[in-house]
Symmetry: C2
Subunit: 724 residues, 2 copies
């Protein structure tokens, strides 16, 4: 169900902030969907004109009710449709006739039914949108909320009561309940303000990425939270992510479920192992999105990220006037890769004056009795530590203290030069109404527990790093020297439907991948000659497009040396192949250098229906197949990405020279990954799957010993779009 929408970009301002809006299906019955949406439209302080449309009513809530859209005195910017499934297209026809730019179809009965009729109806809706040039939200959706301009067209129970003040957090969802209750309502409950919210339902036309892009472009939004089940368009995803980095507005994304295993062919190892979620996760990381696992993580992370300040590094300092929380925050931070640097000599000297008799002060810092009842000492310590160049982030900790002390702590956090978050685990001793919500409302980042605090700091670190990399251009994939698409493409044109190992490696060699020296022998005599040229020992392998699994066929001999042995091996390999597959076309026998011993890796390429060509990397043997220790990125990748892929592998330390072995050439592997990713990108229409297995990694360099390429049957195409 991954239909790629043509990448039309429309300014959605008049959808979220129409001058006038109509609701077809408005009623006064607030137990009905139409009644609930109408109540929100009229009760949310909308400054524009509202046109209820319902042929059975003359008047609604003091407003003239119209029998049809055609009778309206003007063309509304945004029309909501709540009618029976059958009538949706009639109303859409009216909209098109009037030239309505934006329509929200609340009605259900489309692809969510899972029926062929429903799917066909949804396809028709998209076709209608394209033909009429209208942009359509939904169907089966719950509309939009605009806290900035006071427009709500939605049935949600989450905005009952007086309209809350707007804030700088945008929220994008597919599900109405999840986006509006679990994220929006809960975010407001802890004190966050919202700018815009959308619940796009089935997303026939406009999708979460369109809404996220709109919000990113508004001055009122500083962070966008997305709760989604699927992404329709990988290229649009990348473009929106780049825009988020450009504008330094982070996107935090919760994505669950929707495993569509089996949608991908699986002739190669790579194809068989990858899960959709692994790929989404990898691409989100590659493009600087902050991924979280739960709805509450979304808004908890936004409490810090909405300030749009990024730490210069991973070093944090936590300071507590009591000891108990120090250990917990240290552990929680370590779990998120937050570092607790030792303080500089200058800082130590300043702290020694504040805490006489305590010797060297550790980080995280327990102020112990030196700060008991002495908030002035505590604040002086905070200032001394914040001035330390090793400290990028500050976490002052408060248990249960007075309102005045808490307020001073909040002021410190708010005004600190470094990125700061307050960890306030207890209550206010002299004002029960003074709560974390009080401070979050005032824009201060406050956390009640160490883990969400550390998660948010890590998110700020990650996004900051991404923004830096983006600014420096090092996130723009660069085509390495020594790539020859024309020759690789010509080589592919010479191949049949199924490529042999030799053909696959020849193509890869044109992209600068170091393949084993090898040549094809058509007779045992030729094999002997070739073996002499290559140098003993050699490997002999059957070369046949019809035998993909040479080992299974027994048509392979390794470590052969000597003329007689080579000649005999040739005959044996051919005989084994004939036994295994009597009908197979045999090109001959590949005579190949034996690669030196090294660490075996596997590189692969697969095609994701959303994100296109994906590169996969893992250690060889059990690591990929049994332990599923593989990392992914969308092709093409940068050198930063390639190194990150290697670092992500649990087995990465096997490359560092364990058990007395010399370290392996990781730089060569990273370069190979980049080259392979360009191959994957350039041949994305022609190559369905690819395995390099094994890649033998040496102390210096690496060698592609075997490779498998599965064609799509399409012609090779080189993208001229450069980086994507």
């Amino acid at each position: 169900m991954n239909v790629t929408t043509p990448a039309i970009e429309t300014d959605l301002t008049r959808m979220f902030a129409p001058r006038s809006a109509a609701l077809v299906g408005a009623t006064d019955n607030t137990t009905s969907f139409g009644g609930r949406v109408f109540r929100q439209m009229t009760g949310f302080g909308f400054p524009g004109t509202i046109y209820p449309v319902n042929p059975r009513l003359k008047e609604l809530n003091g407003l003239t009710c119209y029998a049809s859209l055609k009778e309206l005195p003007e063309t509304p910017d945004h029309v909501g449709i709540i009618v029976s499934t059958e009538r949706v297209f009639d109303v859409l026809g009216d909209c098109a006739a009037l030239g309505v730019p934006f329509v929200t179809v609340f009605s259900a009965g489309f692809s969510e039914t899972g029926t062929p009729e429903g799917r066909e109806r949804q396809a028709r809706l998209l076709a209608f949108a394209r033909a009429s040039n209208m942009r359509i939200m939904g169907p089966n959706c719950n509309g939009v909320v605009n806290f900035v301009g006071g427009f709500a067209m939605t049935s949600t129970a989450a905005i009952i009561g007086p309209r809350a003040a707007p804030g700088n957090v945008g929220i994008v969802a597919q599900s109405g309940g999840l986006g509006q209750i679990n994220v929006m309502w809960r975010a407001m409950e802890i004190g966050l303000g919202i700018s815009y919210q959308s619940s796009g339902g089935n997303e026939a036309d406009l999708d979460t990425l369109d809404f996220a892009r709109f919000m990113l472009r508004t001055d009122e939004t500083d962070v966008v939270l997305m709760a989604i089940e699927s992404i329709k368009d990988g290229e649009k995803f990348k473009a929106v992510a780049r825009e988020a980095a450009e504008r330094e507005k982070p996107i935090v994304v919760l994505k669950f479920g929707g495993t569509e295993a089996g949608s991908r062919a699986a002739a190669s190892h790579t194809g068989a192992i990858a899960g959709d979620d692994d790929i989404f996760d990898a691409v989100a990381r590659q493009y600087g999105l902050i991924r979280v696992d739960e709805c509450n993580h979304l808004y908890e992370t936004a409490v810090l990220l909405r300030r749009r300040r990024w730490p210069k590094g991973r070093g944090a300092a936590a300071v507590s006037p009591t000891g108990g929380n120090i250990v917990q925050v240290a552990d929680a931070g370590a779990g998120f890769g937050i570092e607790w640097p030792e303080y500089s000599k200058e800082t130590q000297a300043a702290l020694a004056q504040l805490m006489p008799g305590y010797g060297k002060v550790a980080n995280p810092t327990d102020m112990t009795s030196a700060a008991t009842g002495r908030q002035d000492v505590y604040r002086s310590a905070l200032n001394a530590i914040a001035a330390d160049a090793r400290v990028d982030m500050m976490v002052p900790i408060f248990a249960s203290v007075s309102r005045a002390d808490l307020q001073r702590g909040a002021d410190f956090v708010d005004q600190c030069d470094k990125v700061a978050a307050m960890l306030w685990v207890g209550g206010c001793t002299d004002d029960a109404a003074y709560t974390p919500k009080t401070l979050i409302r005032a824009g201060v980042p406050v956390y009640r527990d160490a883990t969400p605090c550390m998660r948010a700091l890590r998110a700020a670190v990650d996004f900051g790093e991404y923004v830096e990399a983006h600014k420096s251009g090092s996130k723009e994939p660069q085509r390495p020297a020594g790539i020859d698409f024309e020759s690789a493409s010509a080589a592919l044109r010479e191949c049949g439907a199924r490529l042999t190992e030799r053909e696959a490696k020849r193509m890869l060699a044109h992209y600068g991948l170091p393949v084993t020296r090898e040549a094809l022998a058509a007779s045992s005599e030729e094999a002997v000659t070739l073996a002499r040229e290559i140098g003993a020992p050699v490997a002999l392998k059957i070369d046949s497009p019809d035998i993909a699994h040479k080992t299974e066929a027994g048509a392979i001999r390794l470590g052969v040396h000597g003329d007689e042995a080579v000649g005999k091996a040739y005959d044996e390999v051919v005989a084994a192949a004939r036994r295994y597959a009597p009908q197979a076309h045999i090109n001959g026998v590949l005579v190949q250098e034996m690669a030196p011993a090294g660490v075996e890796m596997m590189l692969g390429v697969l095609r994701d229906p959303v994100f296109g060509p994906i590169v996969a990397v893992g250690l060889g043997g059990i690591h990929v197949e049994v332990l599923k220790d593989v990392s992914y990125r969308a092709a093409p990748v940068t050198l930063i990405d390639a190194n990150a892929m290697l670092a992500e592998l649990r087995a990465a330390k096997l490359l560092d020279g364990v058990r007395g072995m010399a370290p392996r050439d990781k730089a060569a592997v990273a370069d190979l990954i980049v080259r392979l990713s360009w191959f994957a990108h350039d041949f994305r229409d022609a190559v369905a799957e690819l395995d390099v297995n094994p890649l033998v990694v040496l102390e210096h360099g690496a060698r592609v010993v075997d490779a498998l390429i599965v064609r799509t049957g399409n012609a090779p195409t080189l993208s001229l779009r450069g980086t994507a």
Copy 2:
């Protein structure tokens, strides 16, 4: 710093609920520690007599103030001491003279200072307690709170205001701030009631386990939450855990920090790899404790566990009137090993009637429009699903609905035959004051987010399984047949300070471990004879107590066959050993059968300062050393434990027959683990560390190919205590 306290068991009732209590160092200055503690003593509704002691005051808060304990009209049950460090022992002397049974030393200046004087002072405190027969809490602690009887002797700011009603949650901590703010205050904030709370500080005498045991034994406590940095006594830990299972009152434990790496010798692989936290984690699991990572997890888990109802299995059903939360709850549950079984035919039939036209209903269940605005349909569906025998746990989901609907949901959860928890992600649409706290106060388990809900359900599953196993006796370690301690012990007595491979394996053979057939040759002729007896091929290995690393010495030959080769190998091995260690005493050369090829594992034993002998299991090669894929348990272990150890290994599937190999004999490995654990237990004073590396696991059986035993120098001792 792991001093083992003699296991004195004292009934602590009169400590938590004294008839009379004195506070030495009471003042009227509430900014001082003594003033704050006195305020809590007098303001918490204590029904007994309070005696303030302070020579500078005549009267305090309307109570007569005494110059010293000696002047009191009676001997108090519990005396609190807040005096300068120097004066603590004087006051303790007064307590002893009066025969005071319980003392809490709030004063600091003991081992927490990290100074030799402080440590010496703490040792003196313990000696004083033992000599006087008093039980002492602290020093450097924050006392106890008893919500049941209304007694508080603590300085905490967490119980300011009117005393809250008691509940059934006991809380034990070392740190005052953490236990009283992060756990107790926060638990009360979400609506939980507390029975007892203790913050034991340095724990010279009474420790967290004593307080936990007291709480477990009170009728008022149904679950105990522990926030700790260390455990002093492994045997007491096991005893308290057993009592918790016996009473079906779960202990939830948060333990952090305190890595004391380096406290353990590391001559073996096993010793070098284990972290203290890995071991605590494994032993907690082995003994049925629920371990969590954060303070909030403690009380969140208690929201369900306090009901003391255990699911019969792992099958849960979640039902939502809206779709959005279904995917999230399914994902979160899967992450905790919660299963979502397909409903039975009967249930499907019942649901088909309630949701006409929806076909087969999935679990978790989206009621979709069938339940929109129809809470009667929703409740009928809940009842139908709860009646399904495949369902062990029920999770009805609510977004934002009316008070009446929420109350009916709460009633369902409260009265359901199955273990049930309510997931309420939104608000109450018609009563803002009706919140999750309202329901938690009423005893209903309510969660706002899927993850804590699933974490609590999994905790209930785990504890239920543990209680079942405990009841059935299968958690009592059983000594397998064929263990011969006397012969193993006699063999050890014959060994020198350092055991050779042959000696180590001989000892293990007496415990029924299947070692390779082997014998010692003193000459090349003897080696040839032995090799003929054993059958070719054989391995030859130097046998010397002075050469632990035979491979490094080059004093090993594998796969040798033929008389000539064996004789030559003998000479080479001896020559290599002489070159490597000219001074080494050489017993001869071990001639050994070559084990058939199989999956290589590593079993080990190490000694933990708290938990005693620990068994470790991992796959061989990189899995243990590089990937740290090892599981631990305290010896002796049950067969359940041994199988759980194997299941925990990431690489466990290598035993299941991957890549075309036949499955390996896991049952034999589990039996071996049990035997090795008894060996570790029986020789815990004599054996410091032990490696079986490799253990070769075959399709049928397994073979100990090499073993290393590091002695402590103590004599072997067999425990007669049976299981511990």
